[in-house]
């Protein structure tokens, strides 16, 4: 089983294109793609408030909790979508085949049907690409693993400086 991902740039370009298209068509503020463990893969659009990494981590928790909730009420395939309606900003989350999450942040006055219509289409386009994610393990480029693990010791010192 693949427990890690190395994403080739071509795939990321394709993802960026799809997310951009969705942002343009549905007039949304921010679109993100994260993997189901909460790691951010791509972000498009503007983000006035909030940290993308945190949004992705929380969305993953939300999607997993919703999947669990669906299972508990007897759903066989809990990979749907749901949205939170806020006062000014709303969030639409779509669980893509249990492996990825599409996160759409939009102003509440944007019609939800519009977001849903184009988000669904984006998910259809993303499906084959996200499938490739787990098949293609891109080779490292200009990357020296030994140097990497040596460097980590110094970086740990800088990250956790002595008081």
């Amino acid at each position: 089983m693949t427990q890690g991902l190395q994403v080739p740039e071509e795939l990321l370009d394709e993802i960026d294109y799809i997310l951009n298209h969705l942002a343009e068509k549905a007039r949304t503020d921010t679109i993100m793609l994260a993997d189901i463990s909460g790691q951010l893969i791509s972000i498009q659009g503007i983000m006035e408030e909030g940290t993308p990494a945190i949004i992705a981590a929380l969305a993953a928790g939300d999607v997993a909790a919703m999947a669990e909730l669906s299972t508990r009420i007897g759903e066989k395939d809990p990979h749907g979508s749901f949205f939170h309606e806020g006062e000014t900003k709303s969030i639409y989350l779509h669980n893509i085949v249990g492996s990825f999450i599409l996160i759409v942040i939009f102003r509440t006055k944007t019609p939800i049907g519009l977001v849903r219509l184009f988000a669904k289409r984006a998910v259809e386009q993303l499906m084959p690409i996200t499938k490739k994610f787990e098949e293609i393990m891109g080779p490292p480029k200009a990357y020296n693993p030994d140097e990497f693990s040596k460097g980590i010791t110094q970086e740990l010192e800088d990250t956790f400086p002595d008081e």
């Binding site: 343009e24 019609p111 939800i112 049907g113 519009l114």
Partner: protein, 129 residues
């Protein structure tokens, strides 16, 4: 009471709202709405109308019609019409595109024609997808 939050107004892409506005103008229609198969608003015209309620209603009509068609073994539905005593018409027209189903709902005042104008709008909506 329905909260008027998701009004298909300011933030919808101009294209959908524009298509509906132009259709209303051309046909002399009082109101129109474009909704998803789940009854969620995609766009509406005029901009400040209650698109949530209208979307839910036209979708409900579409679902009843689809079930009726199914039970009676009729060919695919092209239009659902409700005519009031005062000769207003509510027209619902399903729009199929790939796997997607949308519904265009239009309120037509008495003595107005609508087929040609709604056909034209449907073509333009498909073009935008």
């Amino acid at each position: 009471m329905i909260e008027k939050k998701h009004q298909a107004g300011g933030d919808a892409p101009l294209s959908f709202v524009e298509i509906l506005l132009e259709m209303n103008r051309e046909g002399g229609f009082t109101r129109s709405v474009l909704a998803t198969a789940e009854g969620l608003p995609i766009a509406s015209a005029p901009v400040n109308s209650d698109s949530e309620l209208a979307s839910a209603m036209v979708t409900m009509l579409q679902q009843v019609a689809a079930e009726t068609r199914n039970q009676l073994g009729l060919p695919p539905i092209d239009e659902i019409t409700i005519r009031t005593e005062k000769k207003h018409h509510l027209i619902c027209r399903p729009i199929k595109f790939d796997n997607e189903l949308m519904i265009l709902g239009v309120i037509v005042p008495p003595d107005h024609v609508y087929r040609r104008v709604t056909n034209k709008a449907i073509k333009r909506i498909r073009w935008e997808l």
